[in-house]
Amino acid sequence: MKFAHMADAHIGSWREPKLKEASLQAFMKAVNICFEENVDFILISGDLFNTSLPVIDQLKEVVKKLKQIKEKNILVYVIPGSHDFSPSGKTMLDVLENAGLLINVVKGKVDEETGKLILNFSINEKTGAKITGMLGKKGMLEKKFYESLNTDNLEQEEGFKIFMFHTSLTELKPKDLAEMDSAPISLLPKGFNYYAGGHVHIIRKEKIEGYGLIVYPGPLFPNNFKEIEELKHGGFYIWDEGKIEYYGIPLYNVVSIIVDCHHKSPQEVRKELLTKMDNLDENNLNKTIITLRLRGVLRDGKITDIALNEIIERLYEKGVYFVMKNTTKLTTKEFEEVKLSLEKSHDTEDALIKEHLSKSNMSEFLVNVIGSNEGNNNCDDDSISEEKFDENEFIKEIMNTLDLEKQEGERIIDFEQRIKENIKKKIDL
């Protein structure tokens, strides 16, 4: 018996087209490996798609691939995950199952006497493997399912048994996901040979007393900045007569650049970044994703002084496939020193504005930002510096403009346009 276990493909998750395509390609490549390895069947432990109703373009490609799998007489067993499950029942997985392209193994009934949930096995005729599983829901709502699960029939069943789940297990949770909702292993039925997990994006296999092998294959393609930075690529497991092997899917090289900006000036950070950029391996840059993570408290100046966008632009000029930046943990000393104890929000806003105005020159800002705005500049340096206006009021007006809410029935694109127009009017003075 040989089977593949994958999870968390999250097809359609990335906004950036390049990465959106990558998650689809990862799935395609994983299936191709399954073909090469001649697996008997494929398990997908939830979140094949990032939503219950994925967009047509990507769905079309997945359906083509599922059809190829079917033609090779390989069955695909799935469970709905927290992303592609729908409480209304309107999920694409149902459509695909009705089309005979996959089998949702979460099947069973409720014993109306006891209120207990009784799951059935789906039996793979080629190998005799007995597969069942539990769907995943957002916010760990599947925990109630587990609590009501009748485990007796599942545990008493003989043969090679696989339990698919899309749940974070308390005992196997990694440290950096400590805050994630989880359920204890004891909720899973005991005595299965293989527990095919999903949901937690970690690569882990663990043997727990009373249970068989509990496996998380991680995502098929990293699903966020941190995962790209740490995992570099996704992958899945293939189980072959008791031996289990991880197959990575390295679609791109990933170079992670982390700069500790603590006590450094923006210029020093910029210099460090440029040096690291110069040291990049020039080969295969068109197949390289670069992650830039800047963290710490700058000694002086502003974050914008680093001119990170310009550096990213240079990287693209060098031919890098995709560049990602993360500055969520980067701040400046000037901003850190603002300490307030005001209760009302507008008081807090006023105080924050005043505090920052005392540390920066708004007129200079206007010259730098608006003055460089090509084709839309009707004022010169002198006119700005001579202009007398209430900086505090100006900032508040800008904030109010940005605070507008989308009207009912208004399209997002129209809403964005409206905001842009309003801002333009304000800044044009």
Binding site: E171, L172, K173
Partner: protein, 484 residues
């Protein structure tokens, strides 16, 4: 208010005459009787002065001769202030002799738990029953979280009634149970090796200075992977080979792990991959006022203490940080229940060096972290620690040396109560506490009765009102499970 603590014979006749007359009645004349026997012979009640009721203060003078005497009534009990407490901790029912008074004795739980509680008695006098009652009554309170190291697996109620049956647990999941052999819905006790630091081993295993230094050196060099490094016999400068072999053996035995081939095999609760968040999860839950029961019945005593040490250190450090950040006031008090307390607080153990439990005993109250120590042998605990345990619940104790240890460190004067303590029946106790006006006799209810009484209350009956609704709820609950 007076408390009687002894009864004596009294007589207007001399002892010689009494003996003579009693002997004659026994041996010769059965009709012999005292003249005016009611006047000449009587029972003397020895009482001590507890407090002056009218002034509501400790009494410093004796009542006058011919003062009226009456039994305690309900109005008098108001003086105990039990029912007005903001954070009551139930200890037991008030008792007068063997008579149980229908009055729940409570103390200020937030303060009492932070300032440590000692539960002491001989075997079979009801320590576990008392602890169960305290834990039960504390489950629906929001001022405290409790961690219980349970070497007899008796509190959760795995196969019988226990804390799991508390209505609060069913609604709010107030009891979290960790076990090496978990039952469905409870958590498998797994702790990652990376969570262990050399300081956690203080009081757990005995180490020579050289061995202790070697552990620290490994930790410094290999950080959180220091145990793996020792097991894999990684190199470290400046230590004799024998020292390294011994620490490897000691750690391997303690943690139930071994290095085979190129991998570390974990057979017990300590694991190389699992359990990364266990300690953090426990701390998080206890901060939500929950009761965490750690079943240590299937692990060695050393491992149990190590688990307790890991969790206690983490909690104390967290609470120290809260104090620095000014957040401590909003945090619940945390209490750690340790059975056989001298294992970690005994003189012999502490002579070899301080451990986290002795640190908590000394300074925990400043950070709202306390201990509930349970022991048959309080005399093994140093007086300095006993004196820090501000509430003592004393059940029956036959051994004089143990009684004296308690009496000498009690919050109130128990010098006249030696015989009383010796004769306490099962479930009877005397409580001395900084949070009580005087040492108070109590009777602890039988835990199973407490549970049954609670479960019979109608408000916790969650039966579905009719079968149609039940069916509807069931169907709604399992959306996503296809028939097949």
């Amino acid at each position: 208010m007076l408390q009687t603590y002894d009864l004596l014979y009294g007589s207007q006749l001399s002892q010689t005459n009494l003996e003579l007359m009693s002997g004659m009645k026994l041996e010769q004349n059965s009709s012999l009787e005292f003249m005016d026997k009611e006047l000449r012979n009587y029972t003397l009640v020895v009482a001590k002065n507890l407090m002056t009721v009218e002034q509501n203060r400790i009494s410093k003078s004796l009542p006058n001769f011919f003062s009226d005497i009456r039994m305690l009534d309900e109005d008098d009990l108001k003086l105990l202030h039990s029912s007005n407490l903001k954070n009551p901790l139930f200890i037991g029912m008030l008792r007068s002799g063997s008579k149980i008074i229908n009055y729940d004795l409570c103390i200020d739980g937030e303060k009492a738990l932070a300032e440590h509680i000692l539960i002491s008695s001989s075997t079979g006098k009801g320590k576990s029953n008392l602890t169960s009652c305290i834990l039960w009554s504390n489950l629906d309170k929001d001022y405290s979280g409790i961690i219980v190291l349970d070497p007899h697996d008796e509190y959760y109620g795995r196969n019988h009634l226990g804390l799991k049956d508390h209505p609060c647990n069913k609604i709010k999941n107030q009891v979290i149970y960790y076990s090496k052999n978990p039952i469905p819905g409870t958590i498998s006790l797994k702790i990652n090796l990376k969570a262990v630091k050399p300081s956690h081993l203080n009081g757990v295993i005995s180490l020579t200075d050289a061995q202790h230094e070697a552990l620290i050196a490994f930790h410094r060099k290999y950080q959180e992977n220091w145990i793996s490094a020792i097991l894999k016999e990684e190199k470290i400068e400046g230590f004799h080979e024998t020292t390294l072999i011994v620490i490897k053996r000691k750690l391997s035995n303690l943690l139930d792990v071994k290095f085979v081939g190129d991998s570390i095999i974990c057979q017990g609760i300590f694991d190389i991959t699992a359990g990364e968040t266990t300690v953090n999860d426990i701390c998080k839950e206890v901060e939500k006022n929950k009761t965490i029961i750690i079943d240590t019945s299937n692990i060695s005593s050393g491992m149990e203490i190590l688990v307790g040490s890991l969790i206690s250190s983490e909690i104390l450090n967290k609470y120290k940080r809260y104090k620095t950040q000014g957040l401590l006031r909003d945090k619940p008090v945390v209490s750690i229940v340790i059975e056989e307390a001298p294992r970690v607080l005994g003189k012999e153990v502490l002579e070899k060096g301080q451990n986290i439990f002795s640190t908590i005993a000394r300074e925990g109250r400043k950070f709202k972290v306390g201990l509930i120590g349970i022991t048959q042998l309080p005399s093994l605990i140093p007086r300095t620690i006993l004196a820090n345990m501000n509430t003592k619940i004393i059940l029956g104790m036959e051994m004089g040396v143990e009684r004296r240890a308690i009496i000498e460190s009690a919050s109130q004067d128990l010098s006249d109560d030696d015989k009383n303590i010796a004769s306490l029946d099962k479930g009877e106790a005397i409580v001395t506490s900084n949070f009580l006006r005087f040492a108070t006799p109590i009777k602890i209810p039988f835990f199973e009765d407490v549970i049954k009484k609670e479960l019979n209350k109608k408000e916790f009956n969650h039966e579905m009102p009719n079968s149609d609704l039940k069916e509807k709820v069931i169907k709604q609950n399992f959306i996503g499970v296809n028939g097949g």
